[in-house]
Every structure is written in C-alpha cells, then in structure tokens.
C-alpha cells in the first residue's frame, strides 16, 4: 500500500519538492549575499556592542526593500500543502469516481486512508521542516537587523511552527475535501479556513499565551527597558493620573497646551521632553519578553498539533460512515 500511496501522488510530491529545490537555490544565493553585506556593513559587530546601528541598518534595509513582498508568500506556503495535497486527496477520488475502484479492493477504508495520510503526511513534515530550516537560515541577517523574530510574520516562518502549520493545513484539506467532495471548492475552502485559523491564533491567541509584562520607561530615552528582541504588543504614553495621552510611541501634543513653555529654538525636542517629564508623562509598554520565544513556539505548535489530530480523527470517522 505504501507503493500505491506514493505512486498515486508522485507528481504532486515531486512538484512540491521541485519548488522547494528551486527556492533553496535562490535562497542559497541571496542568503549568502545577505550574510556578506551584514558583515561588511558592520551591523553584526555593532549589534554585539549594543551601539546605535541605525544608519547601517537603514542601509541594509534599503538594499533589500524589494524583498518585503516575499514575506506574505512564505506565510502562505504551508497552507498550499493543504490546498494541493490535502483537499484533492478524497475529493478527487470521489469526483472522478475512482473511489469505486479504490474502496472495493481488499483494504478497509480506514486502512486506505491511514496509508494515504501517512505517506503524504510524512512528506508534509519533511518538506515543511526543510522549508522552515531554509527560511530560518536565510532570514537570519534580516532578523538581526531589527525585525525581531517575535514579530507576527517572522515568528511564523522560523523555528518549529511551520511544520505544525503545514500538518494542520494538510489535515484541514483532507477533512474539507471529504465533506465537500468537489476538488476546486474544497481547495478554496481549505485556503480560507487555513488563513482564518492562522489569523485568529496569531492576533487573538498568541498575545495571551503568557501574561504580558508591563514596563514603564521615561520619555526621551526611547524604550530603554524594552529589548530590541522583545515583542511589543502595544505602547502608550500615560500621564501621572493614568490617562492615555498617546499611542504607539507618539504623544498627542495638545497635552502641552497651557502647561509647557514655548519650545526653545536651540533644542526644541529636549525642552518639550523635559516639560513632559515634569508633567509626569511616561511610556507604558505591554510586552512579551524575548526569552519567551521558544515557549511560545511550543505552545503554538501544540495548538496546531491538537487541531491536526482532531481533524484526522474526524476524517477517519466521516469516511467510514457517511460518504458515498
């Protein structure tokens, strides 16, 4: 049965491997040049010395501004496994009528499904693990240059979570295909479902995996208590009474009306800052500190692992009982 599961899906698996190979070549070339520029611009040593690397980082980013569009593509990649491997698995059999051939051989439906899921599932894990490793290596310099790895969008591409995203997408595709039984419709629903669940977990659940820390810092020194690698959920400027006077690091300057002297022309910024400090205004940041990165990866992986198991269990029962 292993041979058949491989033979039936051989072209899909080879196509995906081919895409990954092409990606690996391209990433190999560009990744090496990233690393080189990173070194040449001195960003690595600058960050190690915790100096102000802003200028070098800006240069680096200017060189690679065009690559920003690639990040959304990579985010979709695990979902594509669900769309192209998962959704057609059962839907295509039923649409083409070949289930009347496959399910009348001397194997029970459950065994047939287990082998299909096993072979394709193993392929999913291997491909997504390679993909995750590749992207992690490739984006190392970019992450070092200021996009911290905890940010939504970067967190999703590195570490172990891409493997679990891909497994979930595959299981979702198979389940959707077994219910909908029309390949194209199942592919669409799988993609939307995957995007919806991922967005929900990223924006609604992930900030709350652990109670965020609340850190205050005075105005004027940036967010000194917050590390570059921390995940800042939100930042507010708060006055002495606790009222919010600004969001996202900015301050609504109307609060200075009538309470601050006119700005000094020599150094307007410093005079406003000292006035704000006198008024008791400070920055309050809600963050997830950088040392929670791996526990967050594990929690998110566990969530998607549980979802995957539930979807597989559902599909096995559904196929045995209900459909054609």
């Amino acid at each position: 049965m292993t041979w058949w599961a491989w033979r039936q899906h051989r072209s899909q698996m080879l196509a995906a491997a081919g895409v990954l190979a092409a990606l690996a070549i391209w990433m190999g070339v560009t990744g090496v040049s990233f690393a080189r520029e990173f070194r040449d611009l001195g960003i690595a040593s600058c960050l190690a010395a915790r100096g102000d690397c802003g200028q070098a980082i800006d240069q680096f980013e200017a060189l690679h501004r065009g690559l920003a569009f690639l990040v959304p593509l990579f985010l979709v990649a695990p979902g594509l496994i669900g769309v192209f491997w998962g959704a057609p698995l059962i839907a295509r059999e039923i649409e083409a009528g070949t289930h009347r051939l496959a399910w009348t051989q001397s194997v029970s439906r459950r065994r047939w499904l287990s082998w299909q899921l096993g072979v394709l599932g193993a392929g999913t894990v291997v491909l997504s693990a390679l993909f995750a490793w590749l992207v992690s290596w490739w984006s190392g310099p970019i992450v070092g240059a200021g996009l911290n790895r905890f940010t939504p969008g970067i967190f999703d591409l590195r570490g172990i979570v891409p493997v679990f995203y891909a497994a979930f997408a595959f299981a979702l595709g198979v389940a959707v295909g077994s219910v909908i039984r029309r390949t194209v419709a199942a592919m669409g629903v799988t993609l939307l479902g995957y995007a919806g669940v991922r967005a929900a977990v990223t924006f609604l659940a992930r900030p709350h995996f652990a109670t965020p820390l609340v850190v205050t810092s005075p105005i004027g020194q940036g967010n000194v208590r917050v590390d570059l690698a921390d995940w800042v959920l939100h930042t507010e400027a708060v006055d002495a009474l606790g009222h919010v006077v600004g969001r996202g690091g900015g301050i609504d300057l109307r609060v200075t009306v009538g309470r601050c002297p006119a700005p000094n022309f020599i150094d307007p910024r410093a005079s406003i800052q000292s006035c704000l400090q006198r008024l008791g205004i400070h920055l309050v940041s809600t963050i997830q500190p950088y040392n929670r990165y791996w526990s967050f990866q594990l929690i998110e992986s566990a969530i998607f692992a549980v979802l995957t198991v539930l979807l597989v269990a559902f599909t096995v029962r559904w196929v045995r009982r209900r459909i054609v």
Binding site: W3, G97, T98, R100, L101, T104, Q105, S106, V107, V324
Partner: protein, 310 residues
C-alpha cells in the same frame, strides 16, 4: 447436493435506500442464488446501481437488511476480498498505465493473480504501458474486468459494464466475462456474477437468472428457464382480465375493439381454444412486467417474487 448449502450470493429483505427525499431503492426483497450468472435489468434510475453499491458496501442502507455471501456488507478487508466490483463507466485512474493498475491491485489485494490479468489483457491487444485515460471504452471495460477478476473473488458485481460500448466491444467483453467464469469453475472456485444492464439482448445470451427492477422496486425475479416456461402470450377475441381463470394471472394486456393480447403467468397449459398461445421472449416478458404501475391496484396483478434455488 452438499449437506450445508452455501449462502446465497445476495439476500435482501425490505431493503431501501433514500437519497434526500428520493428513494433509490424501496422495499426490495430478493434472493440471488450463488454461482449463477444473474442479470439485473431496469431502466435508468430503476435502482440497479443503488443495489450493487449497497452490495459492495459503498452505500449503507436506509431501511431493511442486506447480506452478501452471508455477511452484512461492512467494508472489512475479508469481505471485500470476496467481491469483485466493476463500477459504472469502469472507473480507472486515467493518468496511470495499465501495468500500474495491475500493480495497484497487487498491493491492495492479498489474493492476486497479476500474471493472469496481464496475460488476458495482452491477449486482447491492450498495451500495458498505455495510460488508461487513452484507452477506448471497450478497452477500459476490459481492464476493469481484468482487475476485478484477478482478485479471484467469489462474487463479481458489474454495474452497467456494457453501456456505451459498441456491439463488437460488448461481445468481446461478454466473452471475457464468461471465459473468466469458466477459468474459475475449472479451478473449483465457482464465480457468481451479477451483471446489470438495460440492454436485454446481451443479458439474454449469458444470464440464467433474471431480476427486473423498476422505480426502485423488484418486479420480477427468477431463473430464466422457469420464467420463460411459466409465461405465455395469448391472443384472442376481446376479453376482460377478470374473465381469466384463477390459475392464469394476467401480467399485461392490450385491447383493440375486437382483440385482446395478454401476457399471462400460468403453470398449466392453456386449454381454452379461443386463445392463440405462443411462447414469450425475454424482452417481451420484461416489458410486460415493467409496464405495470408501481402500486398494483387490481387484485390479479402479482409481481412474481423470489425463486430461491441452489
């Protein structure tokens, strides 16, 4: 005759299958004997495909019970190993070669005669390296048959295998089918066959037992010899159905002003000299039963039920 007779190929009691609000099969009670070539006749939508899909476990019944080779079709591996199935339009994987299909059978069936299948297909001139999507309709049907037979089953179910085949392909297919049955009989493993079609002429050549379905219900079932021997066509002066003696059951009748033509079921010879009696062909017999309304209003209209033989 053996002491314990083998289980019938198929026993249905009150079997029904509903798709949404439509009944594909309704109150079907039927016994198909084992080791025969059974023809399942009916118009499109009569329930033939439903019955065969239920028998092989692709569908689950809504009402009633069904036993195939003595067991309820539950999709277990042992059961599926005993039943060969050729679905409607001979489903095959269009992008795979014929040889791939034979290998597919080997990897999914413990009892597999792949060499026999290959020999049979090569004898028919089918290139094993061709993709099945490129084969003609007749060749696809032959490949599907070869796969089902290579499993060495006890019962072979074929759902309209002859539909959309040209006459030559039909004849070749039936020859292959009978050849496979003969091979297995020689190997002392008799093969029962249930073959559905809406073309009676083909079935007439190979079948020795007939089941007629219409509107999801069984209208007629029995050995072909018995059926042909117990029905007659009577032509004579105009007469009402009620005027027939009790032992002559009128199945169908047509009247002109002065003449009546009736198909009757009777065990004894017709002695009334007013009638011109002739034997009936299978096609006329089936048409006579198919012409009956679903709810038989008149008391003398009794569809012939089952004839259980071993």
């Amino acid at each position: 005759m053996s002491a314990t007779s083998p289980a019938p190929a198929l026993v249905a009691e009150g079997l029904g299958k509903r798709y949404g609000r439509v009944w594909g099969l309704r109150d079907c009670s039927l016994t198909i004997p084992v080791g025969r070539v059974v023809g399942l006749v009916g118009a499109n939508g009569a329930g033939k495909t439903t019955l065969l899909n239920l028998a092989v476990g692709l569908l689950a019944p809504t009402t009633g019970s069904l036993r195939v080779l003595g067991e309820v079709p539950s999709g277990t591996a042992e059961q599926l190993a005993r039943i060969g199935f050729v679905g409607q339009a001979a489903p095959l994987y269009d992008t795979m070669t014929v040889a791939d299909h034979v290998r597919f059978g080997r990897s999914l069936n413990p009892r597999w005669n792949g060499n026999g299948a290959r020999r049979r297909l090569e004898g028919l001139g089918i290139d094993l390296a061709r993709k099945t999507g490129q084969l003609s309709g007749g060749q696809r049907a032959q490949v599907a048959l070869a796969l089902a037979v290579a499993k060495q089953p006890d019962l072979l179910l074929l759902d309209e295998p002859l539909a959309s085949l040209d006459p030559l392909a039909r004849r070749e297919f039936l020859q292959s089918l009978m050849g496979a049955a003969a091979d297995q009989a020689e190997a002392d493993r008799p093969l029962g066959i249930v073959l559905s079609s809406h073309l009676l002429a083909d079935l007439e050549r190979v079948c020795d037992h007939l089941v007629v379905l219409s509107g999801g219900e069984v209208r007629l079932a029995g050995d072909v010899d018995d059926l042909l021997g117990s029905h007659r066509i009577l032509v004579g002066p105009r007469a009402d159905a009620g005027s027939f003696p009790a032992n002559q059951v009128v199945i169908a009748e047509s009247h002109t002003d002065r003449q009546t033509t009736a198909v009757v079921r009777t065990e004894s010879p017709v002695l009334n000299p007013a009638w011109q009696v002739s034997d009936i062909g299978l096609e006329d017999l089936v048409l006579a039963y198919l012409g009956q309304p679903a709810e038989a209003a008149a008391p003398h209209r009794n569809p012939l039920r089952t004839v259980a033989t071993t």
